[in-house]
């Protein structure tokens, strides 16, 4: 009995340590959220998410991200991370130039969203968005970070933010 219990405890502890090494959580919330996600009990804070969406629609992107962080403290929800990435895109978008640091953060967030989505497939059917899939958003962010001839096209001032 003691031997079986010890073996079980050691295996659970070893798996938890291996998980920590692989995931590299930065906060206690990420640790607890990750563990609860592993057993299927993780849930986004609906009120904080609703607050975040309100800020997002009012173009208050910094405030929106703070609320998204509250909604998904463990960074385990693909949809929330998609909106975080979208907030970086919209905040960094400009007619004449894009803000590279914000776009780079957006790429990181959309990568997280893709990683968290089942089979890496993420679609958000929000009519207020111009892009509905993680692939579209990632391509747009990466295009914004690239330097090429289209950057000097004067017609770009007529492009619309998605």
């Amino acid at each position: 009995m003691t031997r079986a219990l010890g073996l079980g405890l050691a295996l659970i502890y070893a798996v938890a340590i291996a998980w920590l090494y692989v995931r590299q959580p930065q906060t206690i919330a990420q640790v607890t959220g990750g563990l609860s996600a592993a057993i299927g009990t993780y849930k986004v804070d609906d009120q904080a998410f609703a607050d975040a969406m309100q800020f997002f629609r009012n173009d208050q992107f910094v405030e929106a991200r703070l609320a998204f962080d509250r909604a998904d403290p463990a960074v385990r929800d693909a949809r929330t991370q998609f909106y975080v990435a979208y907030s970086y895109y919209r905040q960094g978008w400009g007619r004449l130039y894009h803000d590279d640091p914000l776009y780079a953060e957006g790429v990181k967030a959309v990568d997280r969203a893709i990683q968290l989505a089942p089979d890496g497939r993420l679609r958000v059917d929000d009519p207020g968005l111009g892009m509905h899939t993680a692939e579209e958003l990632k391509a747009e962010l990466e295009a914004g970070l690239r330097r090429d001839a289209s950057d000097f096209n004067p017609m770009r001032v007529f492009r619309k933010r998605k």
């Binding site: 050691a10 090494y21 590299q24």
Partner: protein, 215 residues
């Protein structure tokens, strides 16, 4: 050795060492796994522990034991190996010439200790001194030299030292909590080694000890 010690205490002690010794706390928290080189050093340390009699592997793995008991023994051996690698890793500096020097020093020291063939007691003393001294060199000496100073004189001295050593000596100074966790991990590792099922002293060794005691 009790069953509880073998099945529960030792694996949990060594797994805790593996976890705590891998923690690097700075602006962010990182868990650094042992490199292949450190796993080799950890393997050498396990060999030393067995050679000295601090661990009698036949008391963990033997055909006379049940399968479950052998599994418990295997877990102790595997966790001891990784914990040994991490206990060495935590006292090796993070970068530059000191990292290279410490890594080479540990390899030479482990080989030298193996050649000296110490008994359990001497190995435990040697391990305590080695890990303790390396801890002081890394977390006290090197980090004090590398810490950015408050005063102008200290900043000038640090810049001069950085220039003289071509940046090879100065280390990134982590959060002070890292040092406390490292010290705790080293202490816990030594306690774990002390608790391992040891080889009973041979008759000649026992006689020698008795003679020393009489002298």
């Amino acid at each position: 050795m009790t069953v509880a010690r073998e099945a529960i205490t030792l694996p949990l002690v060594f797994l805790t060492v593996t976890l705590l010794a891998g923690l690097r706390i700075d602006d962010t928290v990182a868990l650094v796994p042992p490199s292949p080189y450190l796993l080799v050093l950890g393997g050498l340390l396990v060999r030393l522990v067995v050679q000295s009699g601090a661990l009698a592997p036949q008391r963990l793995l033997a055909s006379s034991r049940s399968e479950l008991a052998n599994l418990n023994g295997l877990v102790v051996l595997l966790t001891l190996w990784v914990a040994a690698a991490q206990a060495i890793a935590v006292v090796i500096p993070q970068s530059g010439l000191p990292r290279l020097a410490f890594a080479a020093f540990f390899l030479v020291l482990l080989l030298n200790t193996a050649a000296a063939a110490p008994d359990r007691q001497r190995l435990l003393r040697s391990l305590s001194v080695t890990l303790g001294a390396a801890f002081i060199l890394k977390f006290v000496v090197l980090h004090t030299l590398s810490a950015p100073g408050d005063g102008a004189v200290k900043r000038v001295l640090r810049a001069a030292l950085d220039g003289l050593t071509l940046g090879a000596l100065i280390q990134d100074v982590p959060h002070p909590l890292t040092a406390y966790l490292a010290l705790f991990a080293i202490g816990l590792f030594l306690v774990g080694v002390l608790l391992l099922p040891s080889r009973p002293p041979s008759a000649s060794t026992a006689l020698l000890r008795t003679g020393n005691a009489v002298d």
